[in-house]
Symmetry: D2
Subunit: 251 residues, 4 copies
């Protein structure tokens, strides 16, 4: 067969497999999204349409991959968690990584008009991604806490920054005002100067977006468990959330 002379090159392919029984996280980030945000006049500090589109794209990933049961997103990033025991794609790392990143990207472009109706997408955006492994429930939860703290810190800063700018400060002045300040200072600033109680700001902006699969009885076939995908903007740092949904981290 004509192919055989060259098919030795297949031996250069490597299928790195992920260690069994560790939590698999795929995190993706928008590439050059500040430029993308500007070109499409996204609202500052948060564009709800864009966040909803991100959530919807993440939902498509959860719908498509049974083994992906949890996702957390904020700003232009999203993290997907696959069950510790999953054998999806034989745990081949590149396959898992690219399937999730590609589907998310595809959904983002495909559903754009659903969330942005009149705003035309000007060019194809893209996302990069990476796989991260967590060997224990605690380290996985700490990872998710890390992202949610990041969401809070960035959102508080950006809320202050853009309110200062919108009220007449130059970006440089706003930057100088906030440089090195603590959380308390920013809360005071929001309240004193702009009459805003930070804790009343939309939870989507303060807490990010969590999607997870919740088991329920199948109405048609009661012996079967089906999963519905729930979207929430709760605190996922405290144990309360995980106690309420104790099936999430159990094997």
């Amino acid at each position: 067969m004509a192919n055989s002379k060259y098919s030795y090159v297949k031996s250069f392919e490597v299928d790195e497999k992920i260690l069994p029984q560790v939590w698999i996280v795929v995190r993706l980030d928008g590439r050059c999204f500040s430029k993308f945000a500007e070109e499409h006049k996204l609202q500052k500090p948060n564009d709800e349409r864009c966040l909803r589109l991100m959530e919807h794209s993440a939902r498509k990933v959860l719908e498509t991959f049974d083994e992906c049961f949890f996702a957390y997103g904020q700003s232009d990033e999203f993290s997907f968690v696959l069950r510790k025991q999953t054998n999806i794609f034989n745990r081949r790392k590149s396959k898992i990584l690219t399937c999730i990143v590609s589907l998310f990207t595809s959904a983002f472009v495909f559903y754009w008009k659903t969330f942005f109706n009149d705003v035309e997408m000007k060019y194809p955006p893209s996302f990069d991604g990476r796989v991260i492994l967590y060997p224990s429930d605690q380290t996985l939860r700490d990872y998710l806490s890390w992202r949610q703290v990041d969401c809070h810190v960035n959102n508080q800063y950006n809320t202050c920054f853009w309110l200062l700018v919108q009220s007449g400060a130059t970006p440089k002045e706003a930057y100088e005002t906030l440089k090195g300040t603590y959380s308390d200072f920013k809360n005071e600033l929001l309240f004193q100067k702009f009459g805003i109680n930070y804790s009343h700001i939309e939870e989507r902006f303060r807490k990010g977006s969590t999607l997870f699969k919740k088991p329920r009885e199948d109405l048609v076939n009661p012996s079967k468990t089906v999963f519905e995908i729930v979207l929430t903007h709760e605190d996922i740092i405290k144990s309360e959330f995980w106690n309420k949904h104790s099936d999430l981290l159990s094997s």
Copy 2:
């Protein structure tokens, strides 16, 4: 800073770097594309609109990444070659892989309507991808030859198969007719039964699609070299192509 308690989780991130001075190939493949082809009534054995959309998406990858100088595609797959000496993204494997796969996917959805005008895309398609390394020019060329031989073998088979089906055979009958047959048999079949000279079939179908960067003098600034992206459907197995474009594999 609130973040620090959790930021230890960052130490679980691994940035695998690609060995210096080897050719880097990223190959992506359509996921479940037979279903996608059916749902969108793509033409058999080849849908020119889809191939042109694939080529256009590949072009976007070459335009975006300076270091990606060559691409070869056929059917629902595309391979991208990055310069041996490239230091793009510090040669981080996951970053290179996901950036290319994500951008290609995004372009495929974004430009769909340009090539399919009236055909609505029904759901977001996706691609998986992998990185393959080739240490020498010879092994890289053998890889590309392997893909072009694959294009030929599949296209010849599919051309026969679908002509048989279109002329009344059941898929099972067509399959049985072709099972285990050689290239010569298929050429005869095409000629005797359908009056088709295989070598007159469109080159795009028989040879696949090659895109590469060709240097030329910048008309405005003659001391500068600019690159134009050339699309061709030539034979890339024989040395002729590589001799004609001898700069491609030189460092």
Copy 3:
């Protein structure tokens, strides 16, 4: 500096790091040890001198590397376990692997005469090794159980095999007698034919060799914990051992 022209080659070195917070096992195996056993007329089915030399070499590894707290060996293999939290050598995989394999090998040759006095070592023996990662206490314990079951199965087989041979059977006949038989059959054979109660055979042969670090108060400085290395031939499959030494798997 003269070196600089070539020092770029250092960039080809890769220091793969082991995922944090997983148990690290290094298992080493004798290379071509049946030939080595024959050349040095080691006793069959077990040579106590050789097992004691293996144990002593393992002890040197535990003495040298603080973070290596447990070892299990049988026949010509030994497994070393490093603490989940260890940061030894920055968790560089090749460094950890080769340091342990090299030191064990060195000790094996160095202490040979202590255990084999009159038997001259004829040529330098060697060991290969590999790193295996276990993310949870359960998987680590299952690994060790796997090795101890292997010890039992092999020892029972070999005991029967060599008794048959020593009592006049050819190796082929002994092999045929034992082929496909179960544990019960072998126990009966030992008892009926050779008057041996398998459970009375030396524990070192039946259970292999476990070395671990046991904390105790430093007599000189009572606020300090020192570790003594304990050698035992117990069952490490059942929980009893692990309950008795509950500090071993706790962080």
Copy 4:
């Protein structure tokens, strides 16, 4: 079978394979060899007995592994090169690495008394090791040049340093005298102060030790090629050596 309950743990083993058709280098280094040198009163700046023992241990590696055709050593390090095309151990990285490091270590201890006769080895020394891959002849040669330049630079420095110390300087004074000086200065110092022409110093010390396999006709069976292992202390940076032994880098 009793084993099966635990044998799932085998799935945690990973056999990383080395990319085909790249040069494989295994470099090993003495662990804590300054302490070892002191404890065994090795001569400064070079102990010929130790260098010869290193060479002899390297020779054992070349004798044992057909595919290992070249080795270069200096001080307490040795680099082994395996043929680009080798399929030894299926190119499994850990296996290749540990077999070479373990055999070298074993030989070092085993042959100690041959080279050190009256000097007792006090404790088992060990070596760490790593695998480095070079995709082209040029990068491999540059690697070897890097090591030989390193040999020269260190030997010249150490020769000066120990002569200064032996002639009455404190180590600190010797260090200060040499700090930041160039090759020329050191050559002058050796000549002016100690009457030593650096280029007359033993080649073993200045150039390190190269071992390689040289093909020759088998006297008994002229149609067969046998290899003899040649030891040399030549310059391996210039092309002369490689031209003279042009078979070494040819496939």
